[in-house]
Amino acid sequence: MEQMYDNMRKAVSSYDSSRTSESALVGGEGAKMQRARENNALICGDFIGLVMEIAIKLGESNACMRRIVAAPTAGSCGVVPAVLLAMEKKRKDTKEQIIRALYVAAGIGGVIANRAFIAGAAGGCQAEIGTASAMAAGAAVFLEGGTADAMASAAALALKNLMGLVCDPVAGLVEVPCVKRNAMGAVNALICADEALSGIYSKIPPDQVIDAMRAVGKSMPDDLKETGTGGIAATPRGIEISEKLGSFS
C-alpha cells in the first residue's frame, strides 16, 4: 500500500500541463485550477481548491496515458488521492496515517465491489465515481478520528448523493465528462465526511444503500453504461467529436 501512496504522490508531482490526450479533448486544466487557487480567485477557497486541482490533474494525467493509481478504477483515479493528499497537507498527517486511511478506503471499495460493482460499464458512473467518493468519504472521517459508524455513514451518504449518475463518456473515452467528475466526487466526499463528523448520519444503512445502487445500475440501459451512446455522449456536439475521431479503419 505504501507503493500505492508513493505512486499517487508521484502522479501529482509529475503532472505535465503541456500534455494532451489523443483526442485533444483533455489537457492543461489542472494548471488552470492551480493558477486560480494560487491567485486566491476561487469561491471554494484554498483547501477545496487544492482538492479539485489534484482531482483534475490526476484525471487528466490518466487521459494522457501517464502513470496513475486506479482507485478503484483508472477513470476515478483522482478522487481518493485528491481528498487524502489535500488533507495530509492541511493536517500535517504522517505518511503512516495516510496509508492507514488508504486501507479504510480500500475496505469500503471492496465491500461495494463484492456487493454491487465499481465499473461504469457495469453500473454507470454512480458505481465508479460513486464508489471512489464513498471510499474517500470514509477515509476522510478516519483521518479526523471519527468512529467506524461515522466512516460507514459518510460512505453511504456519498453513494446516495451520486445515486443514478450515468456513465456517458464522449466518444467512449475516459475524458469528457470523466475528468471533472473526479473533482465533483472528491468534494462530495468532503461534504459527506463533514456531515458524518457532525453527527448527521445516513438514515438508510450503508449495505442497503449499496444494494440500491446495484439495483439502479442493473436497471440502467446499456447506452448509459460506458458505451458512449447516451447522455453527454449523445449530444450533437458529443456525436460530432466522436465522428471526427473515428476508429482504426
Binding site: M65, R67, A71, P72, A74, C77, N114, A119, F248
Partner: protein
C-alpha cells in the same frame, strides 16, 4: 478480490480495461509464445475496435508484446520501441460474433525462432483478462494462477501422466479443464496451479510421448506480498473460481 485491486494497480491510463487489460493480453501472448515476438497481426473486435485508438489500446497491446508491464511509462511510445526492438505488427478490425466480449482481440504472432501462436483474449474489467482460445482451441483462463496448457493427442493416459508429474513435484492443481477437437484428434489440458512451475517440470512434460506442445503462463509480477493479500469473500461479481461456465453473462468492464 485483493485489497490492492481496489487501491491499485499502478498503471498507465486511461482505462483499466482498454489500456491495462490490453497490455496484459499482449504480455500473456508473449509469455505463451515463450520467446521474443517478431511479427504480430492484431485484430480488434467490438469496443476495442471502436474506441481503441482514443484509449491507446493499440499501443497497449504492442507494449505488452514487447514485454512492458502495465505501469511502464513507455507504453504511449510503444510503436517506436517496436521499431527499435524489431517487432513488426499490423492492426485491423474483426467481427468475432455476438458471443465475444466487447473488449476482445485476436492475434497471430510469430517469434524469433519461427514459433507461432494464435490467441483470442478479452479484457473483462479492472485490468483483468480472459484468454478465450489458443491455437483455435477453447481454454478459458484468467491468468490469475500459474497456468500450464498442454496440447496432446486424445489418447488414454496423458492426463494421468501430466498430473502425476505435477504431484511428484508437490505442485497442487487448483483447476483443470479438458478440451478436444474430436475423438482421437488433438486435445488440450489447461491446468491452473497454486505454485510457479519450475522450468525442468515443463521440459519433462514436453518430452512425454503424445504431447505436442506445452505452454506456460505466469502473470505474477512478484509485487504482492503475503501481508497485502487480503481476500474479500462472499461476493460473486469479481471472482473467477466456480463461475467459469457462467462468466459470459456477468463480465464487467472498467
Amino acid at each position: 478480490m485483493n485489497i490492492l485491486d481496489i487501491i491499485g494497480p499502478v498503471m498507465v491510463g486511461p482505462s483499466s480495461s482498454h489500456t491495462a487489460g490490453a497490455v496484459r493480453i499482449g504480455l500473456a501472448a508473449k509469455k505463451l509464445l515463450g520467446e521474443e515476438v517478431r511479427r504480430a497481426d492484431i485484430f480488434f473486435h467490438g469496443s476495442f475496435f471502436a474506441t481503441g485508438r482514443g484509449h491507446g489500446t493499440d499501443r497497449a497491446v504492442v507494449a505488452g508484446l514487447l514485454g512492458f508491464m502495465v505501469e511502464d511509462e513507455r507504453i504511449p511510445e510503444s510503436f517506436s520501441y517496436a521499431k527499435k526492438m524489431g517487432l513488426e505488427f499490423s492492426i485491423k478490425g474483426i467481427d468475432l460474433g455476438d458471443d465475444a466480449h466487447a473488449n476482445t482481440v485476436k492475434m497471430n504472432i510469430c517469434g524469433e525462432s519461427g514459433r507461432r501462436l494464435e490467441i483470442i483474449a478479452s479484457s473483462i474489467g479492472g485490468g483483468r483478462i480472459w484468454i478465450d482460445e489458443i491455437d483455435g482451441l477453447t481454454v478459458n483462463v484468467g491468468g490469475e494462477y500459474p497456468t500450464l496448457i498442454v496440447h496432446n493427442l486424445d489418447e488414454p493416459g496423458h492426463v494421468a501422466e501430466v498430473a502425476s508429474i505435477l504431484a511428484g513435484n508437490s505442485l497442487n492443481i487448483a483447476a483443470m479443464q479438458l478440451y478436444r477437437m474430436g475423438r482421437g484428434g488433438e486435445a488440450v489440458m489447461v491446468l491452473e496451479c497454486d505454485h510457479r512451475i519450475p522450468e525442468e517440470v515443463i521440459r519433462r512434460l514436453e518430452n512425454l510421448g503424445g504431447v505436442r506442445k506445452v505452454t506456460y503462463l505466469n502473470m505474477d509480477t512478484g509485487h504482492e506480498t503475503e501481508e497485502e493479500h487480503v481476500q474479500f469473500v462472499g461476493g460473486d461479481n469479481h471472482g473467477y473460481k466456480g463461475k467459469k461456465m457462467g462468466f459470459l453473462a456477468d463480465r464487467t468492464g472498467g
